[in-house]
Amino acid sequence: ASDNAGSQTPDGDYSRKGADTCLACHEDAVTLAIFQTKHAVPGDARSPFGHGQLQCEACHGPGDEHSGRVRRGEDRPPIISFSDLYATDTSVENAMCLECHDDAIGLGWHAGMHSNDEVACADCHNSHAARDAVLQTATQAQVCYDCHQRQRTESLKAFNHPMLQGKMDCSSCHAVHDENVGTELVRQTVNDTCLQCHAEKRGPYLWEHAPVSEDCGLCHAPHGSNHPGMLTRRGPLLCQSCHSQSGHPSIPQDANGLPSGVPSQFLLGQNCMNCHSQSHGSNHPSGSKLMR
């Protein structure tokens, strides 16, 4: 016997034979794929198919009425569905998942934007899939882009993290269950997150570049850019937004500096970084101008 302790579990009687009742009708490949997943492991007492557990009805709720006889012309009484087609209120859906997963992710989840926007667990997760697409690096981004369309658009820009190629996933940077509270990032800050892979830019340098120490996003567009280095704008104008010193930093570089005119060292190649190449900071005693 199982004590179904969930206070939010819908009312109703459970079926007489559990999954065997359900499988009498639901024997399609999509449904049966659940038995390839971690939800269907008899040896794990906490799995829905663990010994004494409620099997299909652990997630779909009491199914006696749903599985009973239905008069011709009448609709079959609904059961908790995680499909877009057969609507169950998101809060009911999520409550079923959080019955078991509340400890692991739920308490961060409640603090996060996805919970606030009433995103259903099943909007991202497919618990019947042998390999849930959102848990695979190669396919995760496509799941996220279903809602995050702006980020999908940005991912198609010329310079990007390798999302399109499926070699990096959104969860490399984002903690979608908001474990870090209020950042939706896997580390405490934007910079801590970026520096996981770009630790060479951490310093602390002898000569720091102030925006680098504070927020990589001040110069870089992490979801994609049409400018090399995923910069938000082209140099030298990006640099000249903040650097106005007398002399070449304040002199405008216009189209006359292209090869058809008088080729300018402040414009072509790597523009400012032709000389100030240590834009993330320098540990050289003569590097205060980030040239060493």
Binding site: N226, L267, C275, M291, R292
Partner: protein, 681 residues
């Protein structure tokens, strides 16, 4: 509710037992060399490729082993092994390689003469500008600008039937290759092919204690970075003053970040209230030996210290409280505090300008610190079953040291309305304003930095932002057809800035149409549009504004795809096509040159993917895959810029991308073991 499950024998449940595996093996061809498409995918080297993919596992009543192989025949390969006893312990071992390719059109005159050293070729003739490099043409040799990143991961977790669980993860990233760095001499520079070899080790350890209505966790994080060298030197190809025939750059210093994090969460289902918090304390340190001021022996002087002994303390606090205690309402209050306290010692330094001259100035290093505090409150109220009103306010303050603005406060207010009509229509509109104010913009600090005192840096300046967003999700009742539209607009005004960024607009629109025509057939259409523009002012006379630049970035993407599964019960067809077009325009009006417009920076990406699979039996499948990729770019910073185009800069002559690659593959997929099928007969 107590349920008697004693008769629930699950005799028709096809539980997974034994071995299962899918292997995909085949050959393919890549039509052309392309740095752009080789990047991250390994599909940019002309020739034959091997197709080796697979996944599988073993399961026996809770004991599980899973493995995955991806693209083993390419430079972008991945392998993973995971397993354990579900509900008790688990382990993971993974390895990934990611090729990072920039240019295969680059040349250099430099020769590697040792680790971290570049020398000039024999017979090189120095000159004051690139036009005088008489030996240039005969000295250029191809040098690709590329690197390889490999990531090894090892992890384990333990979650026995006790309140305690624990995890331990280790990750090593190695990043090795060549990048371009500018090596400046006094008024000239050489873009150098600089080799680097970085290693980053990361460790995550943690324990977690679960309670009836909450948890507490304690975690440790280490990120330890090391570079194979701390310097890079080169021989200067330009004529230089005596003693400055070579230069030296510093490589990134070895550094280490350690952080301890305490977190927890508590909830009450009765009131629908939850509290989550995290507190973290970290330290970054680096004690790499410093290089001398210069390699020019006649100018070098003693350093004030031999190593920086840089040290930064980080502190983070965050808490969020949400409650549904009030009928039809949800309230959320969040607090976050982030501090970077740079305790690196300050010294006075005597810079040698590009190994040529002693600057004569005494310069103090400025270890930047900041404190950032964010407080936000929001409430949602269900006015009707289908109508929700929301509103919120947030304040973000940033205190900085050694910068023009010491204290900055941004207040944001927003409102939102969401209307849902059954399962057919869901419309959400949101709008708000944000006002970023500062205590004052210190012209004294600006002048110390030799800045024009009228400049306002865009991240420090006063800013007024208006923004609005709309989401529409429409579905056909009881039909798998959906249309999703998002529109976003933001308008930034830096009205107190006389120089620097003065305005910015951001307009974005996306739309998706999905139709699952049947269980076996689905199609989608998608599009995205972005228009990002900004205006900035500058002063070449070092007084009031006398030049203006307008940046306009437009981006359009559209795509379509379809899936036909089980055609004739044996054929699957999968088609995707995406095109994206980017245009960046820069218009300038200057006092000295009048109006001018740069040639448009343009990018065009086409991507076509098709896969046809024929299922010969339950176990054997044959597949043909075709990828067509094209990327073209017009970029004035690279177009027609050869090694000697710019008199003062020796460039590697990189060409803007104009790449086209056709990849064709034939493979077979073989399944081993049991597939999920009904146990009913």
């Amino acid at each position: 509710q107590t349920v008697d499950t004693s008769d629930w024998v699950c005799e028709f449940c096809p539980f997974r037992t034994g071995h299962q595996a899918d292997f995909e093996v085949g050959v393919g061809s890549v039509s052309d060399d392309s740095a752009y498409f080789d990047n991250a995918s390994g599909l940019g080297e002309e020739g034959v490729i091997g197709i080796v993919d697979g996944s599988g596992g073993f399961s026996s009543d809770g004991q599980q082993v899973e493995w995955t192989l991806e693209d083993l025949g390419l430079d972008a390969r991945f392998a993973e092994l995971s397993g354990g006893r579900q509900g008790s312990y688990g382990y993971l071992l993974s390895y990934r390689e990611i090729p990072q390719r920039k240019f295969i059109t680059t040349d250099t005159i430099f020769e590697r003469s040792g680790p971290g050293e570049l020398s000039l070729p024999a017979g090189w003739v120095r000159a004051g500008s690139t036009g005088g490099f008489s030996a240039l043409a005969s000295s250029l040799r191809p040098r690709d600008i590329e690197s390889d990143r490999s990531i090894l991961g090892i992890g384990g977790r333990y979650s026995a039937r006790s309140p305690f669980s624990a995890f331990a993860n280790y990750r090593r990233q190695q990043h090795e290759g060549t990048t371009i760095l500018g090596g400046a001499s006094f008024s000239t520079s050489s873009l150098l092919p600089v080799s680097f070899d970085y290693t980053t080790d990361e460790v995550d350890l943690g324990v977690r204690y679960a309670m009836q209505n909450g948890f507490l966790s304690l975690a440790y994080y280490l990120s330890d970075f090391g570079s194979a060298g701390n310097a890079f030197s080169w021989e200067n190809p330009f004529a230089s003053i005596a003693g400055a025939e070579s230069g030296q750059l510093a490589q990134p210093p070895d550094n280490r970040f350690q952080q301890l994090r305490f977190a927890g969460g508590f909830g009450s289902r009765a009131t629908g209230s939850h509290l989550s918090f995290t507190a973290a304390a970290g330290r970054i340190d680096q004690d790499a030996l410093l290089l001398p001021y210069t390699t020019n022996g006649s100018l070098d002087t003693a350093l004030p210290r031999s190593a920086l002994n840089g040290e930064v303390d980080t502190t983070n606090f965050a808490a969020t409280f949400t409650t549904r205690a009030i009928d039809n309402a949800r309230v959320k209050v969040s607090y976050r505090f982030d501090e970077r306290d740079n305790k690196t010692p300050r010294e006075v330094w005597s810079r040698v300008i590009t190994d040529s001259f002693v600057s004569g100035d005494s310069e103090q290093n400025t270890p930047y610190s900041f404190q950032r505090l964010t407080l936000s409150m929001s409430a949602d109220y269900d006015l009707l079953d289908a109508l929700r009103l929301s509103g919120g306010w947030g304040r973000r303050t940033v205190d900085r040291e050694f910068q023009e603005v010491a204290n900055q406060t941004e207040d944001t207010g927003w409102g939102r309305i969401r209307w849902r009509f059954r399962q057919v229509l869901d419309i959400e509109a949101r709008g708000g304003i944000a006002k970023r104010d500062i205590d004052r913009y210190s012209e004294r600090v600006a002048v110390q930095m030799q800045q024009n005192p009228l400049l306002r840096k865009y991240n420090l300046a006063y800013r007024y932002r208006e923004f609005a967003e709309i989401d529409i999700h429409a579905s056909v009742p009881n039909r798998p057809v959906s249309l999703t539209i998002n529109g976003f607009y933001a308008d930034d005004s830096y009205s107190e800035s006389q120089l620097g960024m003065v305005s910015g607009d951001d307009l974005r629109f996306t739309a998706d149409l999905n139709w699952a025509i049947s269980d076996r057939t689905s199609v989608y259409l998608s599009t995205g549009i972005e228009e990002i523009s900004s205006e900035q002012l500058g002063s070449e006379s070092f007084s009031t504004a006398d030049w203006r630049a307008n940046n306009d970035d437009d981006f359009l993407t559209y795509g379509a795809g379809l899936r036909f599964l089980d055609i004739g019960d044996s054929i699957d067809l999968h088609l995707d096509y995406t095109r994206s077009e980017g245009t960046s325009r820069i218009d300038m009006v200057t006092a000295s040159g009048g109006p001018s417009r740069f040639p448009d920076l343009e990018t065009t990406l086409d991507y076509l993917y098709a896969r046809l699979a024929y299922r010969r039996s339950e176990r054997l499948e044959l597949a043909a895959t075709l990828r067509y990729q094209r990327f073209a770019m017009d970029d004035w910073s690279l177009d027609d810029v050869g090694p000697a185009t710019v008199p003062q800069v020796l460039t590697p002559g990189a060409e803007a991308y104009d790449d086209k690659v056709l990849v064709f593959g034939l493979s077979f997929i073989y399944r081993v073991g049991n597939a999920a099928g009904s146990n009913r007969n």
